[in-house]
C-alpha cells in the first residue's frame, strides 16, 4: 500500500499481460470481497509472493478472506507462494450462517 492506494491496478488483462515477462497471477475476488477492488472482476498481480502478501498489496485484509482457491484447489495456507499463471479465487464470509 502506498498512500492508501492499491499497489496493483485493475488494468484489463490484455494490457497488463504485456508488462510482465512471465504469466502473471490473476486474483479474482467473488461476492462481498469485490468491494475492495471497487467491483473490478479481477486483478493482475506478480507471482513470487505469498497469498497473504498478495492480498495485503491488493488492499484486502488477509484475515477477512475465508476461502482461497488456487487453480481450482482449495488452499488453507496463506503463506503459500503464488506461481506464474496461478488463478486465485478469494471469498469472504459475511453472515456466518
Amino acid at each position: 500500500m502506498v498512500n492508501g492506494e492499491q499497489e496493483y491496478y485493475p488494468y484489463p488483462l490484455f494490457i497488463t499481460h504485456s508488462f510482465f515477462s512471465t504469466m502473471p497471477v490473476i486474483l479474482r475476488p467473488v461476492g462481498h470481497l469485490k468491494s475492495y477492488l471497487k467491483d473490478q472482476a479481477e486483478l493482475v498481480v506478480p507471482a513470487g509472493r505469498s497469498i497473504r502478501e498478495t492480498l495485503r498489496a491488493a488492499g484486502i485484509p488477509p484475515e477477512v478472506v475465508a476461502l482461497v482457491v488456487v487453480n481450482d484447489v482449495h488452499q488453507t495456507d496463506k503463506e503459500m507462494v503464488l506461481q506464474d499463471g496461478d488463478v486465485v479465487r478469494i471469498m469472504a464470509v459475511i453472515g456466518g450462517g
Binding site: 476461502l67 469472504a92 453472515g95 456466518g96 450462517g97
Partner: protein, 608 residues
C-alpha cells in the same frame, strides 16, 4: 388474504379439540408472520410464569409470506415457545419442506396447547386435522419415525418428529424434519415431548392467493436470477457452511476444548474440503433453494449416513470436544439428530463436563465410569446417548443444560459453563471479538449466532475496538437478519451470496399487496426485539443486566495457543459495550426498555 394460508390451527392436546380460526389482518399487518406471530401468541396466550413443560406452555409453529412461494429459500418456519432451557423466550427456525406444505394446507400458524395423556401424532391434510395414536412410535428415533410415517402416508407428506430426547424432555431437545433439518435450539423438542406429541404429518394442496401474479412472477424470478448469477454460488454450494471451518481456525474463532482456545491443532482434518472429499456424497437443499447448503454424508466406518455435519456441529462436536476425525463428528451428528437433541447444546454440555473431568472436579463416579477426556470419541457417543435417555448420573446432569449442571456441581465450574441466559454458546469463539461478543450477550434466545453475526466485521474494524459503531452494527443486524425468520425465508441468499436485499421488496409487495421498504421491515424487527425483551422481563424476576453477561472465560482467561493466544476482552470493556448497547436501544441501565422507547414502538400495551 394475499400471501397467507389464511388460518390458524389450534390443537388442544389435553382435550383433543382442534379448531381453525381466520388469521387476523391486524396481526399480519403488525407482526407479518414467523417469529413475529410466535412472540405475539406467546405473550398474549401463555400465562405469566407458566411451567415450560406444563400444559399451559404453547408451541407455536408459524410460517411467513415468503414461505412456500417463488422465493429463494422460502422453506423456513419458526417454532416458538417458552424455553425449558432458559425460562425465557425461545424460537427455532427450521428449513426443509414442512413450511410449504403447511401453507398449502391453508395454515399460517399451528398452536399446540395442553398435554395429551398418551402419545399421539397430529395429522393434517388440507382442511382435515386429527390426532392419531403414536404409541407404536414412542421410543423410536426421529429419523426412524419420519421413515415410518412417510411409508404409512406417502412421500408427499412432510413429517416433523421428536426423538427419545424430546420424549424424555431433555431441556435442549430438538425437532427433526426431512431427515436432517432441525428446529434446534431452546428445547422446542422438550415442549413437544411434554405434550406427548411425537410428530406432525402434513400435506397441503391448496393454492395461495397473491396480490399481483405477474409482478410476483417477475420479482421472484429476479431473485432467482440474482442467486444464479452470484459468482460465489458454486463455492457455497460445494461447501455450505463448512466453508468457514478453516477460516475460523485461522482467525481463532473455532471453539476448541470448551472454548479455551479458538484454534484447534487437529482442525485441518475438519476443514470443508477434507469433508467434501472424504464423506460428502451429495448436496441437499430446502424448498425452493437455489444454493443447497446441506451436505449429505456417508460414514463408511460406521455404515451410516447423515445430513451434515454443518459448521456449528463441526465446531461443537468436533474441535470443542477435541475430535478431529470428520467421520466421528458426522456420526455424533447423526446420534444427536436421531435421538433428537440439539448438537450445539449437546457439544457445549459435553465439553463443559470434559473440562470438569480433566480438572478432577467430575470423577468416574459422576460419569458412570466414562473416561470423559477431550478427544475420546467413544465417550462423546456414550454421553450423547446418556443425555437423550437421561440415563445414569451423567445423563441426568447434562440433560439439564450446562448452566444448571454447573450450579449443581459448583467448585468453580460455572466459570467455564459457556452459556448466556442458560443457552450454550454456538460455535464461535469470541476471545477478543467485541462485536460478536455483544451480539451473543444480547441475543434474545441466549448465546446464539443467528441474530447478529459480526466476526468479519470485527476483523475489518479492529477486533478489540470498543466503539459505538460496532454496537450500532449489531443492533442493525438484530433487526434485519431475524426478519427472514419473520418472512418465512432463508437469509443465506443475502448473507453469503450477497444478493441485493432490495430485490425482496417488490416480491413482498406483489405477494401481500402491502408495500414495505427494508426500513419498514427493520422497524417491525425492532418492535419484535423489544417484545421478546419484555417477555424475558415478564417471566424472570430480576431479569436484567446480569442475564446479559458472557461466560467469564472470555474476560478472564486468554487462550494459550492459536490465533488469539494471549488475547482477551477486559471486563470493563464488556460492561462498556453493554452500556452503549442499552443506550442506543433506549433501554435503562438494567437493560429494560424505557416507557418512551415502548411508546415510540407502540408497545405500551405490553409494558411490564
Amino acid at each position: 388474504m394475499n400471501g397467507y394460508g389464511g388460518s390458524i390451527l389450534r390443537v388442544n392436546l389435553s382435550t383433543g379439540t382442534i379448531t381453525r380460526e381466520p388469521t387476523s389482518l391486524e396481526l399480519a399487518r403488525d407482526f407479518i408472520g414467523g417469529r413475529g406471530f410466535g412472540i405475539y401468541f406467546l405473550t398474549k396466550e401463555v400465562p405469566v410464569h407458566a411451567d415450560p413443560l406444563g400444559p399451559e406452555n404453547k408451541l407455536i409453529i408459524s410460517n411467513g409470506p415468503l414461505s412456500g412461494m417463488l422465493a429463494p429459500g422460502g422453506g423456513k418456519c419458526d417454532w416458538t415457545c417458552k424455553s425449558p432451557l432458559t425460562g425465557g423466550y425461545a424460537d427455532a427456525s427450521m428449513g426443509g419442506h414442512f413450511t410449504a406444505e403447511m401453507k398449502y394446507a391453508g395454515l399460517d400458524s399451528i398452536i399446540l396447547e395442553g398435554q395429551s395423556s398418551k402419545p399421539v401424532y397430529l395429522f393434517i391434510e388440507n382442511a382435515k386435522a386429527e390426532l392419531r395414536d403414536a404409541s407404536s412410535l414412542w421410543g423410536k428415533g426421529a429419523i426412524d419415525t419420519e421413515v415410518e410415517l412417510k411409508q404409512m402416508h406417502g412421500e408427499p407428506y412432510q413429517v416433523a418428529a421428536i426423538g427419545p430426547g424430546g420424549e424424555n424432555q431433555v431441556l435442549y431437545a430438538c425437532i427433526n424434519h426431512d431427515y436432517g433439518r432441525q428446529a434446534g435450539r431452546g428445547g422446542v423438542g422438550a415442549v413437544m415431548g411434554s405434550k406427548k406429541l411425537k410428530a406432525i404429518v402434513l400435506h397441503g394442496t391448496n393454492s395461495v392467493p397473491v396480490a399481483d401474479p405477474e409482478a410476483y412472477r417477475k420479482a421472484g424470478m429476479a431473485l432467482y436470477k440474482a442467486c444464479k448469477a452470484a459468482d460465489n454460488l458454486a463455492d457455497w454450494t460445494r461447501y455450505g457452511t463448512t466453508i468457514v471451518v478453516s477460516w475460523c481456525d485461522e482467525v481463532g474463532a473455532l471453539p476448541t476444548r470448551n472454548f479455551s482456545a479458538g484454534s484447534f491443532e487437529g482442525g485441518k482434518t475438519l476443514y470443508g474440503p477434507v469433508m467434501r472429499e472424504q464423506i460428502v456424497i451429495t448436496d441437499k437443499g430446502c424448498f425452493g433453494c437455489p444454493c443447497p447448503c446441506g451436505k449429505y454424508s456417508n460414514m463408511k466406518r460406521y455404515g451410516t449416513r447423515v445430513e451434515g455435519p454443518e459448521y456449528e456441529t463441526i465446531g461443537m462436536l468436533g474441535s470443542d470436544v477435541g475430535l478431529s476425525d470428520i467421520q466421528d463428528v458426522a456420526q455424533a451428528n447423526l446420534l444427536c439428530d436421531d435421538l433428537g437433541i440439539d448438537s450445539i447444546s449437546a457439544g457445549g454440555c459435553i465439553s463443559w463436563a470434559m473440562e470438569a473431568y480433566e480438572k478432577g472436579v467430575l470423577t468416574k463416579e459422576d460419569t458412570d465410569g466414562l473416561d470423559l477426556r477431550f478427544g475420546n470419541v467413544e465417550a462423546v457417543f456414550t454421553a450423547i446417548k446418556k443425555i437423550a435417555a437421561r440415563e445414569g448420573k451423567l445423563g441426568a446432569l447434562l440433560s439439564e443444560g450446562s448452566k444448571r449442571a454447573a450450579i449443581k456441581v459448583g467448585k468453580g465450574t460455572q466459570d467455564y459453563a459457556i452459556q448466556i441466559k442458560g443457552m450454550e454458546q454456538s460455535a464461535y469463539a469470541i476471545h477478543n471479538a467485541t462485536a460478536m461478543l455483544i451480539s451473543y450477550m444480547t441475543c434474545d434466545v441466549g448465546a446464539h449466532h443467528n441474530r447478529a453475526w459480526a466476526i468479519t466485521y470485527d476483523l475489518q474494524v479492529g477486533r478489540d475496538k470498543v466503539v459505538p459503531e460496532k454496537v450500532a452494527r449489531v443492533i442493525w443486524l438484530q433487526h434485519f437478519r431475524p426478519m427472514f425468520d419473520v418472512l418465512g425465508g432463508c437469509r443465506l441468499q443475502w448473507v453469503e451470496l450477497g444478493i441485493d436485499r432490495d430485490l425482496y421488496v417488490p416480491l413482498l409487495e406483489a405477494i401481500t399487496g402491502i408495500k414495505r421498504t427494508w426500513e419498514d421491515l427493520e422497524k417491525t424487527g425492532e418492535r419484535i426485539w423489544n417484545l421478546t425483551r419484555l417477555y424475558w422481563m415478564r417471566e424472570i424476576d430480576g431479569f436484567g443486566r446480569s442475564w446479559d453477561q458472557p461466560s467469564p472465560r472470555f474476560y478472564t482467561e486468554a487462550p494459550i495457543s492459536g490465533a488469539t493466544a494471549g488475547q482477551i476482552t477486559r471486563l470493563e470493556d464488556v460492561q462498556k459495550l453493554l452500556d452503549m448497547y442499552y443506550e442506543q436501544r433506549g433501554w435503562d441501565a438494567e437493560g429494560h426498555p424505557t416507557s418512551s422507547t415502548l411508546e415510540k414502538l407502540d408497545l405500551l400495551e405490553f409494558a411490564i
